[in-house]
Amino acid sequence: MSTSVSASPSANPSKGALRAVLHSPLGVAASLVLVVMVSAAILAPFIAPNNPGNVRLDMMNGAADASYWLGGDSGGRDIFSRLLFAARNTLLGALVAVGVATILGVTTGLIAGYFGRTFDFVAGWVSDALMALPSLIVLLAFFKVLGSSVYLSMAVFGVMLAPGFFRLTRNLVMGVRNELYVDAARVSGLSDARIIARHILLVIRAPIVIQIAIVSGVAIVIQSGLEFLGLGDPRTPTWGGMLQDAFANIYVAPTSILWPGLAISLTVASLVLLGNVLRDWMQKSSSGGHGARARARKLAANRVVTGQSAAPLPADTILSISDLVVGYETAAGLKEVVKGVSLDLKRGETLGLVGESGSGKTQTAFSILGLLSSGGRVVSGSILFDGQELTGLDEAAMHKLRGKRLAYVPQEPMSNLDPAFRIGFQLVEPMRTVLGISEAEARKRALALLARVGLPDPMRAFNAYPHEISGGMAQRVLIAGAVSCDPDLLIADEPTTALDVTVQAEVLQLLRDLKEEFHMSVILVTHNFGVVADSCDRVAVMRDGRVVEAADVNSLFTNPQHEYTKMLLGSTLENSTPPAYVPPSLTGVPA
């Protein structure tokens, strides 16, 4: 179980971002390129060796010389000087487009996201409509309306780019709006304006800056495209216009297509890279705890061969774990979450694995199944299941055991069913793979199982999609799936925590009955001592990756040995007596 913090930039966004950029080589390089480009644009009149309109007939498509450092274009003008002046016009055009897009998109996004309702609906529709239009063609269509002013065209282009900002802002605001801390701010008597300023702008700031970087790149490319097509003002030098000139003379002076193209590409690439650096920084600062960045990238689990010689087990012991250590790779090295756990489980027994969050109980369970999240692996120790060592097994061998001999019931019923497939299929598919039975046979068994786990209308549930059934029903479906291939060991990870208490009682009863019926052994991971008392034969109390006490259920409750167990049992509330009501006026405390 990882405790991930809600996504949002960390403590001091602007300072942290700057540091992130300066600490990344790519960030430094990209910033340098942008600084050079912007300086060139601003200082063009002072640093350009020649006037951009200066014509030297001898330099028409001519090679570089002392005055024309990059040679001349078809009109005999200095390519290098024109590049500098073009930076001015191109960047200014992009600025107009991005400015319009940001102001329009962010404002409407804030209003739509915070206040919702009609405005949200209308703005959303307009934004979808704008996004459905190929922007370049729209700009071409309106060319005569707008005239050849690049800035007016770019302002219109800004409107067409606004939906990107609108959607981003709106979704961010909607996300924050539902955060409890915004509710808390409202309860504290803060006005809407203050909530937007203090709580919402803070969160959306960084993503908007990233979007600006990306959109600036898009604006530069599209603007150059327009000018390349000849829709710009021919009197002012622009990178796109220079490319058009070079294209017309591609057979005469092929190298002149390089310079403007490089200028565009370098600028845009720097913007994108800067955006990427900021994005990486945001993801890093918003993810907390191990596993948040761990990705289930590999379908094959990272398991380390620790293959210890299989010591003979007593015949009635189905599972024996000894000195199990499980760790996760983190930036700071290997972080151990299970630190030497030893457990035994007898056939037909239910073992409760109980502990508070972070005690390693779930990780222990997952390592038996070979289903640790990526980055996690068994570091050392042994898991002996029915005479077979599991820690050294490869994925293919592990795959053969799962479903058929080892089964799993998860905590959260809804997120553990594939939303895109009918429930029937999700029961039939594993049975066909694991048992190799026919479709018809699997279907028959699935329906019988659905009836067995207490679904009132098995046929309807079989044909339903997961979102069409309740959480309690979904958990029954998952239990049906777990027992469908007649496993020997069932691992249930907090199987009732997400359920209402009356449903919990029914589901626990079902699990107990199925255990007898299918002759299973069960490991029940839970934090609830009531559940342990209800369903377990033996208990192991875990704390900080270790088992502090293991005992049969009666002795644990009547005679706990370890201080920690005593403290936990002392924290249960059911023997408390309700407080007596004393009105404040009688005690002298001001009401």
Binding site: S191, V203, G530, L568, L586
Partner: protein, 282 residues
């Protein structure tokens, strides 16, 4: 039932009806509350217990003014706050504060604890910044957090500590009523007991009243003076805490009580039998 009937309630909810999605021309919306009435006296804790979908959270949000009210009255301190325009209600609401369930999302991750606690004090215009910071130190002390906690960020604290910060924020404006929406259900068992004790302690010290929403009968029993049991948008049983939680009259409450497993294998086996018997008879 009421030992001192003369005491006037600080909060009276009368025939509260809440419907969702009823706006527009379409079908009638989903009715989350069917005319619920409840009252809370000064310095009293009223537990509101029920399963998911019972309407207990909806009731809490309506009292806080962040949920809709279709009809009915919410009288707080002599004024019907359900009928007030939003601005006026916001001022009145300073006397009703909240502690929410999830300590991870109820604190803004990009603000320091000090800013989180000082914000309502400064924003409502009741204090200058130095005054507010002095008050913050008192508050941190009151919820047993170290005084240097103010400069740190929420992510540096555990779930239980964050919930203490949330309680301190609720106390900042010295409210007369705090609506607690499942404030301990996301916490570990040992933390749960300590946070509940803090609630009791604060009530003794300040005389604040609680409307305490929870799905857990044992949590509610631990802290409440009176208890209301909700099911499907209505209150099915309402009365003295000990009587409702230990000797319930309504079949639903009995079911709720027997369904929760107790940490004692022998007693739990008996309870289980009683629960199964109840299930077959009903």
């Amino acid at each position: 039932m009421n030992a001192i009937p003369a005491i006037k309630p600080i909060l009276t909810v009368r025939d509260l009806v809440v419907e969702f999605g009823a706006k527009g021309l379409k079908r009638r919306g989903f009715r989350a509350l069917h005319g619920v009435s409840i009252d809370v006296r000064p310095g009293e804790t009223v537990g509101l217990v029920g399963e998911s979908g019972s309407g207990k959270t909806t009731l809490g949000r309506s009292v806080l003014g962040i949920g809709p009210v279709t009809s009915g009255e919410i009288i707080f301190d002599g004024h019907d706050i359900a009928a007030m325009p939003p601005r006026q209600r916001r001022l009145r609401n300073i006397n009703i504060q909240a502690v929410f369930q999830d300590p991870y999302t109820s604190l803004n991750p990009s603000m320091t604890i000090e800013d989180i606690l000082a914000e309502p004090l400064i924003a409502t215009g009741s204090m200058s910044r130095p005054e507010a910071l002095a008050r913050v130190r008192t508050l941190l002390d009151q919820v047993a957090l170290p005084s240097d906690a103010g400069q740190r960020y929420p992510r540096e604290f555990s779930g239980g500590q964050r919930q203490r910060v949330a309680i301190a924020r609720a106390l900042a404006l010295s409210p007369k009523l705090i609506v607690c929406d499942e404030p301990v259900s996301a916490l570990d068992l040992s933390t749960q007991a300590r946070v509940l004790d803090l609630f009791v302690e604060i009530q003794k010290a300040t005389g604040v009243a609680y409307l305490f929403v929870s799905h857990d009968l044992s949590v509610v029993r631990h802290i409440s003076h009176r208890v209301a049991v909700m099911s499907r948008g209505a209150i099915v049983e309402y009365g003295d805490c000990d009587q409702v939680t230990a000797r319930p009259e309504h079949a639903y409450t009995r079911r709720l009580m027997l369904a929760a497993p107790v940490a004692d294998p022998v007693r739990q086996a008996e309870r289980r039998k009683a629960f199964e018997a109840l299930a077959t008879t009903s």
